[in-house]
Symmetry: C3
Subunit: 257 residues, 3 copies
């Protein structure tokens, strides 16, 4: 590892193509990290911020979506302020950040979303973002792919209708005929949020459905590969190694179609 | 989604049959949620508090036990004050809350229980709940089902005695010949706490044993189904979808007996 | 359960062989725990601190490493100050604590390590530990076992090179040709940290590789068994019961070699 001073590190960020904006929180963390583990500070500046964030196969904006989703999924409130701020600097809109939180209430639990709400309220207040910039509660929904949804619903009803009709009903009415059709996040981004959350919490059972859906929604295989590379740092190597065989099966099945 | 003002929402709570008492924390959260995501606020008031909490197949008191167990299992301290307070309003006794925390020290980790202790101490202080209302450290234990326990112990000893006799011994002495026999929680409620914690943390491997035990202890199938519907909101849809096939297998096996 | 007063408890700690030093945080926690759950306080003093921590098959120093790894892996910041302090009293060096945090950035996620950094900075400041006592960012690395690494790399490249070359490259360059060769943690301790983190987060898929590596690095089977006994308290019984069959398979396969 080559050591970068905070100044050099800030510089490397500023000039790296396609990378994220500098946040004041980074320097603080960098100084604190150095005082406990000089090695960790160097891995952070060189391999995380100066490394994986600058790789070309996924935009800084998408990396911020992946990072935000991972933090909410893992309920890491103390890291949210810096990364949410960075997301806005990287081009994630306030509406997209708002809608990501709403989406993850369902996919990672209500409490995780509420923790993110508290952090985001402060950021929105500081930036003067008001409700006119936020997604409406009741917007006109995107058109439903009736055939795909009928197929999904039939399979879930057959498998689990006798186990919990309440889950089956809410999945249809709240998730696939409402949440997923809200226009505040592009379906491809909504899928990116979902897949990132699943990998970050080790829910590989739901990955085949959602990674396929993500790729149907326009996420490329090279972007999906890079999501794994990125999340290794944020969700830890073991979560990514558990996701790798599932991703491989999805990629191979799609290649044979 | 139909929009409810906070006042209308508070009203809907007050008049809904079998639902929970209003907590001052709800309005605060509601206002904050609206300022970040009007949609999330509406899902919260309409589909969570005005929806799933009012469904008839599980009492508000049981929903509070499920919610408390899920929060402790997921170590979500910031949501604990409002939900613990609500649990007491919904008829969970201080002794039952105390014992739920004790139980989950073993089933979700000591640190999770200690985080819950800190929250609960403040609530008990505010409400003037003193130690006379709490379960004794050394009560007279419930009678042991010697046959069932001998069977459980034999299977675990055979499977894992050579792997970790310490785990096997503590499981027998601390859990099944002590904790599970403490009278401060009905066995059915202790099972409800355990199953809720397992689903909330994705520990489906332990679900067959504990869901069967819960139903042996008096939890009905329709209640178990509704626990899944409820937990989708608190633990996230993916955790519930991982639990559905396990619950189906348990329900089907019991139907064939 | 036999009740111990705090004084008796402190005494039992002081005289128990091979146990940990008394931390001022214990009494506070003990009083608070008693006021919410006298039973939990008694389990804590008798069965956790007075019980599992005093068992002979794993040193207090190793138990502290296991505990620290579990807390970081589960991101339980509120328990870190007392346990990190205890780790230093039990003989874990500041350099080892620093390096454990660095290691777990990769194995449990960057945010978990940063939460641990914040706690550790305060402890290091209080104790006057400065950077000269910490591992260098760029030390001379331990020698690489070229054959074992070539085998590992080939298997991972074949399995996942087409899925995410970025993950494969970073695993080789950052983990196995850098992090694992840093001398600030003995390989056996690095493995102990890794295995403890995997068990604590339910990542059993990675256990066979890392438990074998741990035992190749000198962790004995009786120590590994005792890690399971210890972690039942910190990570919860279900995580340990999910790890037991994996540990059994590893132990049996090694016995047949």
């Amino acid at each position: 590892m080559k050591h970068l001073t905070p100044a050099a590190f800030a510089l490397s960020i500023a000039v790296a193509p396609g990378t994220f904006a500098q946040s004041s929180a980074i320097d603080v963390t960098s100084e604190t990290a150095r005082s406990v583990s000089p090695a960790l500070e160097e891995y952070t500046s060189k391999d995380l911020y100066g490394g994986v964030w600058t790789r070309p196969d996924l935009s800084a904006r998408d990396r911020s979506i992946v990072t935000v989703a991972s933090l909410i999924a893992r309920n890491q409130a103390s890291d949210m302020p810096a990364e949410f701020d960075r997301a806005l600097e990287n081009g994630v809109t306030p509406a997209e950040l708002s809608e990501t939180i709403t989406h993850l209430a369902f996919y990672t639990g209500w409490g995780n979303a509420m923790a993110a709400v508290n952090v985001t309220k402060e950021i929105f207040d500081q930036r003067g973002i008001d409700m006119e910039q936020l997604p409406a509660a009741d917007p006109e929904l995107l058109p439903l792919d009736e055939e795909a949804e009928a197929d999904r619903e039939r399979r879930v009803q057959e498998a689990y209708g006798d186990v919990s009709q309440g889950v089956v009903d809410n999945t249809r009415d709240l998730l696939f005929r409402d949440l997923w059709l809200r226009p505040a996040l592009e379906p491809r981004d909504r899928s990116l949020v979902t897949v990132s959350a699943l990998i970050s919490t080790g829910k590989v059972e739901q990955m085949p459905f959602h990674l396929n859906k993500a790729m149907d929604n326009g996420l490329t295989q090279s972007e999906a590969s890079e999501v794994l590379t990125h999340l290794a740092f944020y969700a830890g190597w073991p979560n990514v190694f558990s996701a790798l065989p599932v991703a491989r099966d999805v990629f191979e099945a799609r290649a044979q179609q």
